[in-house]
Assembly symmetry: C2
Homo-oligomer: 211 residues x 2
């Protein structure tokens, strides 16, 4: 009994994960409101009504995609940050983690950034909290960076945080993972752009040069 229940439990979870992956692709391609549950049923090879055994509504489906994906990003980030002392290195890890996750899971990340407004009520509230959690981690790192590098007050921390997320999240609008620029290099470009700026230290002969 215990074995079979466990078995069906994992099988259930596996099928759910598969449905979420396919749904993320469809939502990413056609947009949440323009995508139909029937699209999902066709691509998943399941009947329309059979899908509702795995989620209660289309909106819950959208929420599960966003919640699980962002949670993965956040836990992966916290794991990588363990034991790191340098503030700048923390920031570098954050950018690489974010951009890396983006390129590996483009569909889900696109749904997160593009279909956030499609959530309402309780789902919206819970997702807002999770986003704040992530944003706070980033902002605290920026605070450390500013303290330990005597970085000037170029911009308020919240503006800088939003600018950084803008740079990173906008990737979905132009970047294709199989392009000339590998992901690691793209992440490094964005990291250096944000920390050192486009003009950088080249104008004065003091010669700081990242990495």
């Amino acid at each position: 009994m215990a074995e079979s229940e466990l078995q069906t439990a994992t099988e259930h979870e596996e099928k759910l994960e598969r449905l979420l992956t396919i749904a993320a692709e469809i939502f990413s391609e056609k947009g949440y409101h323009n995508a139909s549950i029937r699209d999902l049923s066709k691509r998943a090879g399941t009947s329309l009504s059979g899908l509702y055994y795995y989620f209660a509504s289309k909106e819950e489906l959208l929420f599960m995609i966003q919640d699980r994906s962002l949670r993965k990003v956040l836990t992966a980030l916290r794991s990588k940050l363990e034991g790191v002392a340098s503030a700048e290195e923390k920031l570098r890890i954050l950018v690489h983690n974010h951009v890396g996750f983006f390129s590996e899971n483009m569909a889900a990340m696109r749904v997160i950034t593009h279909e956030y407004d499609s959530l309402q009520g309780e789902y919206r509230t819970r997702m807002t909290e999770l986003r704040h959690e992530y944003s706070d981690v980033c902002q605290e790192i920026l605070r450390e960076v500013r303290r330990f590098t005597s970085a000037g007050d170029v911009a308020p921390l919240n503006v800088a945080t939003s600018a950084l997320f803008g740079m990173m999240n906008w990737i979905y609008a132009w970047y294709t993972p199989g392009s000339n620029v590998p992901v690691e290099r793209l992440a490094e470009h964005l990291y250096r752009l944000f920390t050192g700026g486009f003009i950088g230290p080249g104008r004065s002969p003091s010669g700081r040069r990242a990495g």
Copy 2:
């Protein structure tokens, strides 16, 4: 005759502009696919069928919003750039123009950045071209900046361009025009963040500090 025709022509254009403004607000609030022509008819005080005298389809309505708005941004930018020699000043003008337009016309700009994928076929093609036109202007300015300031190759020009647009376009996701940060200051923050970076020149005592 000529007078009355001109009169009705401007009245026609005025009503169309008013419809586009209201539609932009609705699309911005509910999203393109979730907003209905009936919503527009209610808020505009016109009958449902009467609206179709001013546009052929819902998608053409979306296109007109995006096309007219982005065209305004582009022509305003080119006008402001006339006679400016300094590359950095050109970049500064671009950022201020873009951010300024964003805050003054939040709904339409949000529709441009958020509902670009909702266009298809011919409309999509024409909008893609216009976006490229705008992006090219920006990229050329960045090329000038890099040449005339001996800025290092922190990132490829297209990556830098996309990063800059990411910073600027992401505004719609967090900024509210009536907040603590005035628009001009926000634009200046983003300009300095992009050119000089978050850490900036503070680490080395050479002391460059943007104007």
